[in-house]
Every structure is written in C-alpha cells, then in structure tokens.
C-alpha cells in the first residue's frame, strides 16, 4: 500500500509531488466504541493538479483531509498510522509550531458551509487580513489593503466598500468567495476544498468551481476537491479517487474512471446518476446503506451491497469477498482498483 496514485504523465512532467499521503489511518475513539473513519489511504498531489476525492457522506473523505490539515478534533479523532509528507517532510513528525505555520502558506482549506465556517463577529476583511497579520506580521492597514486585493481577485464586487461588512451581510456565493479569498491569502501550494459548492445554488456552484479552476491555473497550486457530486468532479478534476468506508476503492484519470469504471461501487455510482435520455425510467440506486464505520464488514467492505460479490464456494481461492480484504492494485496503467474481480468484471 505504499505506491502513490501519481499517473505517469504527471509524475514525468512535474517531478516530486507536493503532498503525499501514505497509508493514513484515522479513528475516532468514542464511549460507544472505536470508529475507523480512514483505513489506509494513499494519494499524492502535484503542483497544478486537481485530485478529486469522491464519496458518499460517511465515507471518510472529509476526515482524511482534516487529518492532512491538522484540524482533527483530538480527542476523539486520532491518526493511528501512516504519513503525510509535504515536499518530502512528514507533517506528523513536525513540531506543533511548524505544523501550525504550514497552515496557510503551505496548505489551506475551503470549507463547505461558509456561513458557519466564517466567524460571525468579525468583518470579512478582518478575517482575510488576519492571515497576513498572523503569518507575516502585517500592520492593520496592510492587512486591509491585502484583503481588498484578495476580495477583488475572487470577484467580490465593490470590495473596498464591503471589506468591513460581516459574513451575514453577504449572499451564499459571495461568502464562499470570502472563504476562498481567505484560503488563498498566503498563496498556498495545496488548496483543499471540502465540498465547496454543496451549500450553494446550482448556478452559483458553477461560478465557484470556475473561480477555483481559474485561480488554480493562475497560481499553479495543487487542488484537492472533496465532493460527492459527480458533475463537479467531471468538470474540473484531473484525477479522481473514489472512497468507500474509509478506503480508496478506485483511482485513475477522470475520463477513464467515468467511462470505464473498474470497481462495482464506482460502476454503481455512475449508473445511479439521473440521465436526461432515460427520463421516465426508474433511477438505478446502489442497494443497501453505506456501512457503519464502527462495524465495517469483513473482507471487502462493499461486498454486502455488491451485485458481483463472490462468497464462499463461488469465490476463487484467496479472493473470497467476505473474507479477504482486497488491495488497491494497478489493473491498467495509471488505474487502480480495490476489487478482487476487477479483471473478470471489467476486462484487462
């Protein structure tokens, strides 16, 4: 499980990944038992690249990036093993001071619900400028000028007049732009966007995604996009990692994963999306519920819901879906699948 997800074309063009997450495990220790939220995920992000992490709620996708960002609530959340390397240096082994000053200029994050994620009692200009004040020792005046500049850059009209306004005085889309301005303040090398458009209207969603990809093109930052929205992934991502029950079950370039999935879960996701041409017919959802992370099924965690699961005598030796845990392995160049029967089901 130590391989990275870097596809050959990217590895060749930009060298060492900026961020490498290797075999990361996160668990939550609660009074009701231990919840395994992230169970050994590995990925990397290069400069200028967009990695989408796709999964249902409860698949561990947000927890995995909170661990990277160093903002897990500990307790109850603990990183139990694995490494998170930033330019080759393991963040988890850094001093807490060094970890802290990395947040902002190294890795920054945009959260889902900008209304609750922005502090209601400070003006947006203050909250954006706080990045410069805390990390660069900027004066009040400099910080405000920087904040106005950033607000203009993310397309907030009349930035100069609105810099002293408070979050509740902005619309949802504008608030998300404020969040993005705040995250971009120190030119981060990696930007993590955790469901940045989920709380927004569809038209505004498109604007925000466009803004993110424009900014990425300008700055060359790596972008990790956490989402459950297949449409969003399709538009902006270079590569995608599909998560299920705290694991990556499939990864590859966006076009390949979408057109020819190599894991039954991904295939199920694709066929559950409503299509205009199949209007009037029933939707095709994946049956069953995502597993309770406190009691993940043995073997392949997807097998209870999998239409192709082979259990007991039907299984090939060493590949019983209810017993043996499948590894994430390369099934085609640049494609990885965590299904025992990927080749049989989807060809070489």
């Amino acid at each position: 499980m130590s391989e990275t997800l870097t596809t050959p074309q990217f590895a060749g063009s930009v060298g060492v990944p900026v961020l490498e997450v290797d075999d990361l495990h996160v668990e939550f220790r609660t009074t009701y038992g231990t919840v395994s939220a992230v169970n050994g995920i590995t990925y990397s992000v290069n400069k200028g690249e967009t990695l989408a992490i796709l999964g249902e709620s409860g698949s561990g996708k947000s927890v995995s990036v909170q661990a990277v960002m160093g903002i897990l609530d500990t307790p109850p959340g603990f990183i139990t093993s694995g490494s998170i390397r930033f330019h080759g240096e393991d963040i988890l082994k850094m001093s807490s001071h060094k970890q802290r000053i990395l947040r902002g200029p190294g890795i920054a994050m945009v959260f889902q619900d900008a209304l609750s994620s922005l502090n209601p009692v400070f003006s947006v200009g203050h909250q954006i400028g706080e990045m410069h004040r805390a990390h660069q020792g900027a004066s009040r005046r400099e910080a405000k000028a920087k904040a106005i500049e950033l607000m203009e850059r993310v397309g907030i009209p009349a930035a100069r007049e609105r810099v002293n306004d408070y979050p509740h005085q902005f619309s949802g889309g504008m608030r998300q732009r404020v969040m993005i301005a705040m995250a971009l303040a120190l030119d981060p090398e990696i930007l993590i966007a955790d469901e940045p458009t989920t709380a927004l209207d569809v038209t505004v969603q498109a604007q925000i995604m466009e803004l993110l990809s424009d900014l990425q093109a300008d700055t060359g930052m790596g972008l990790i996009l956490i989402t459950h929205d297949l449409g969003v992934v399709n538009e902006v991502a270079d590569r995608v990692a599909v998560m299920y029950a705290g694991k990556i079950v499939e990864s590859g370039t966006i076009d390949e994963v979408f057109t020819s999935p190599t894991h039954p879960y991904t295939a199920g996701l694709m066929s559950s999306v409503p299509q205009a041409e199949s209007k009037g017919t029933r939707l095709n959802p994946i049956t069953g519920q995502p597993p309770n992370l406190a009691a993940i099924p043995a073997g392949c965690s997807f097998h209870p819901r999998c239409p192709h699961a082979r259990v007991g005598s039907a299984a090939a030796p060493g590949r019983d879906c209810a017993v043996e845990v499948p590894d994430l392995r390369e099934v085609r160049p640049g494609r990885k699948s965590g299904c025992h029967y990927s080749e049989e089901l989807y060809g070489e």
Binding site: Q66, I71, F111, S117, L118
Partner: protein, 307 residues
C-alpha cells in the same frame, strides 16, 4: 443607535412612575400604623398623633397621597423619614457604600468566574473542569449568611487579613463582603462561561481558525471567546443591577451602612417615602444596566442591529 437609546431612555419614564406607584401602594397596604409603632410604649397624645399623620399625609386616600408625593418629587423633594431627615440625604449617604460593594463584587465575579469558566470549558472532563463543577455546586448550595460568617471567622478573625465588619479599613473593608456577595453569581458566571465556551469550541468557525494556522491562544481567546461572551455579558449586566439592590444579607452580616439595609429597615418601620425613594433608584439601575447590556450586545455581535 442614538435613536434607539433615546427611545429606550424615554421609556424609562413610565416604567419609573409605574414602579414607584406600585411600591407606594404596597407600603400603603401594609397592616399596622407606622406612627403608633414609632411611638413605642408611651402613647402619643391624640393631637400629636394627628399632627404627624397630617404631616405625612397618612390620612389621605392612596391616590391623593401618591399625587402629593409626586408633586414634591417634581420639585426635587423626596420627602423625609419620620425623624425628619430628608430621604435624599439617606440616599446620598448610603449609595456610595452600596456602589462600592457592588463594584467589588462584580470585579470578583468577572475575574474569578470568567477564569474558572474558561479553564473548565477549554478542556471538558479534565481535572480542572471537575474541580470547577464541584466547587461551584458547593458555593451555590451554601446560604450567603453562612458563607459570610465563615469568611469572617477564617479571614477576619483567625488570619486577620481583612476587617471582620464595618468600614473602618477603607477599600480593604469591601473585600470580604464583596467576595461573599459575589460568590453565588460567580458560580453562575463560571458555569455559564464553561458551557458557552465548550459549545462554541465545537462550531465550524473554530475549525476554520485552526486551519488558518492561528495560535491556539488566538483561536480560543479571540475567535471563540468573543462569541461565547454573549450570554455571560447578559448575566453580568443583569446581576450588576441585582447587586446594587439586594445586598441586605451581606450588608447586615458585615455591618455595612448601604442602601439594602436602609430599605430593609424602612420597610419594617413602614416609612413609605424612604422605601419608594430607594426602590425607585433600584428600578432605575435595572433599566440602566439592561440598556447597557443591550448596547453591549450590538458591540459584541454585529448581527444585532437596533434601527
């Protein structure tokens, strides 16, 4: 904002009139004859009795009595007590003691209550948290006069750090009674701060503040505290008005000549003018501090606007 304050200030006038009338009426409705009680064992002559009753309008119907009182009030005359001493003198003499005591108490309340609340709220379930929970429960369950006696015995008599009672030692005289007076509210402030802080620490904006790479002290001390203070400020503001009015037990235990004692004594003697004068001042304090709290709301939380 200025218009809001002006409107609130205007509203205090009917409230003060209504409150003073209610108090006047309640004193009027008390059974017994204050003048006879005043005279004690040696009965007054009917002529002297009538003279006193006439001087204080005690034979008039309630509304006439109140009307005469208000007329005097408009001319700046709060009346006199039965000994002929102007009520305004009693108030100006005793108000400073009460204000000093209340301010001492509020300072203890803020410093100790907030500190304990923050220490407990930052790490729920920690040793410090349990210590604060247990000690505040103990403080809340002890009657104020018991606490007063214990404080007098321990710090006044045995250790000799502070005067046991009275005002002989200037500022130091206020420390023990202030602490005793603050004890109950202090426990509430600690618990309120703890709950509010712990609740706000779970909010999304705290996670954002951490993701911004801010120091933990800034995340808690600035981002979380500002939001946590809203209920605490409400309580402290209302409590300051309370402390200004209701220190009867503490003032008695520590023998301090404050307004609480004055109003208590005059209720016993049925001295209507004194009771009404002092209690109306208490009502005024309540209104004033409530207004201050409402203004502070808008200062702390920009989502609140009065227009």
């Amino acid at each position: 904002m200025a218009r809001y304050i002006a409107r609130r200030a205007l509203m205090t006038i009917p409230v003060l009139i209504g409150a003073s009338f209610l108090i006047f009426w309640m004193v009027y409705a008390l059974p017994g004859d204050p003048v006879r009680a005043l005279a004690g064992d040696r009965p007054l002559t009917p002529a002297a009795l009538a003279a006193i009753r006439d001087e204080y309008n005690l034979d008039d119907p309630l509304l006439i009595q109140y009307g005469k009182y208000m007329l005097g009030l408009l001319q700046g005359d709060l009346g006199t007590d039965f000994a002929g001493r102007p009520v305004i003198d009693t108030i100006t003499q005793r108000l400073p003691t009460t204000v000093r005591l209340a301010l001492t108490a509020i300072v203890f309340e803020i410093i100790i209550g907030l500190t304990a609340g923050v220490l407990a709220g930052v790490r729920r379930g920690s040793y410090m948290d349990n210590l604060v929970l247990v000690s505040t429960t103990v403080v809340v369950s002890i009657p104020v006069f018991v606490l007063g006696f214990v404080a007098q015995y321990a710090f006044g008599l045995r250790l000799g750090w502070f005067p046991i009672a009275g005002l002989s030692d200037g500022f130091r005289s206020y420390i023990l009674p202030g602490l005793v007076l603050a004890s109950l509210s202090l426990a509430y402030v600690a618990r309120l701060t703890r709950t509010s802080l712990a609740e706000n620490l779970r909010q999304d904006y705290v996670r954002t503040a951490r993701a911004k790479g801010l120091k933990p002290s800034v995340v808690v001390g600035k981002h979380t505290m500002r939001n946590s203070m809203i209920p605490v400020v409400t309580f402290i503001g209302a409590d300051l008005a309370n402390l200004m009015a209701g220190a009867i037990v503490t003032e008695t235990v520590f023998n301090l000549p404050g307004l609480g004692r004055a109003v208590f004594d005059s209720v016993l003697r049925q001295e209507g003018f004194v009771v009404v004068g002092i209690v109306t001042i208490f009502v005024f304090f309540y209104i004033l501090f409530n207004l201050v709290v409402d203004i502070l709301y808008a200062v702390i939380d920009p989502r609140i606007r009065y227009d």
